[in-house]
């Protein structure tokens, strides 16, 4: 990814939290990683096809999803189904928004939701995935972008 593309990913992520919850997230300095992916309690994974291939996923702990869902649903109590749904929707929205920088031949799949560690999820071996640390209301999460 170019610096311009990476900046767009970070800006899109910050904007997502601001728009959906009214509170901005802070993104840490992105770093690259090869091999086994970082995964927290819930992960929403989007497959990417077209001119760019790979995957994008958002991974976080339950606390972040619970707090976000409550804010989005005006305080309604939420459970495991909503945590999974929200992790998929976050990954889907951020990935879909990236068409603005990657173009219309950037195709996204429906989200696949993983609870806990996923041994079957592998990042492409020949590329470094960009890990973007996210902090929202003191909760940690990561956006992982692995594109050829």
């Amino acid at each position: 990814m170019t610096n311009k593309e990476l900046k767009f990913v970070v800006d899109t992520t910050v904007n997502f939290f601001k728009e959906t919850t009214g509170m901005s997230a802070e993104c840490g300095i992105p770093y690259t990683k090869n091999g086994s992916p970082v995964m927290l309690e819930y992960s929403g994974i989007i497959g990417i096809s077209g001119l760019r291939k790979g995957s994008i996923y958002f991974t976080s702990n339950q606390n972040l999803l619970q707090e976000m869902a409550r804010r989005m649903l005006d305080g309604e109590e939420v459970g495991c189904d909503e945590f999974k749904d929200l992790s998929g929707e976050i990954a889907n929205t951020i990935s879909g928004n990236l068409r603005k920088v990657f173009g219309s031949d950037f195709h996204i799949s429906v989200p696949v939701i993983v609870e806990g560690q996923a041994r079957d999820i592998k990042l492409p071996k020949d590329i470094d995935a960009y890990i973007i640390p996210i902090t929202w209301k003191e909760n940690k999460a990561f956006l992982v972008v692995g594109l050829e």
Partner: protein, 126 residues
Amino acid sequence: MNDQIKIMVVDDSSIIRKIIERGVTDKNYQLVGTASNGLEAIDIFKQTLPDIVTLDITMPEMNGLVVLEHLLAIKADVQVIVISALSDKGTAIEAIKKGAKSFIPKPFTTEQVQKTIEKLAVKVVS
């Protein structure tokens, strides 16, 4: 007057459906159905024949833009609002060319959806 307008909400995310549903019912529109995928959307649409539909694009079973063509074939004057994470201009133009009346990129606010429905509801009534 709003309670005469029949609205259907289609999105594979239950949280997004709930947010849109609340926006619809808060304004006293008649929520006639919700669907979480394209095939279900077409089934419920045939049964309820809503005036306005909010429609996601990236969904299991059938892409929302294909669903849009089916809905228009069933009821040509249905007012469809596409609400999608695919927020580039090309996708918005494609949706409008296929017959959508409006396009709202995700992330969105409830107010955006309500204002768009309000504009389209005027067309339904007139």
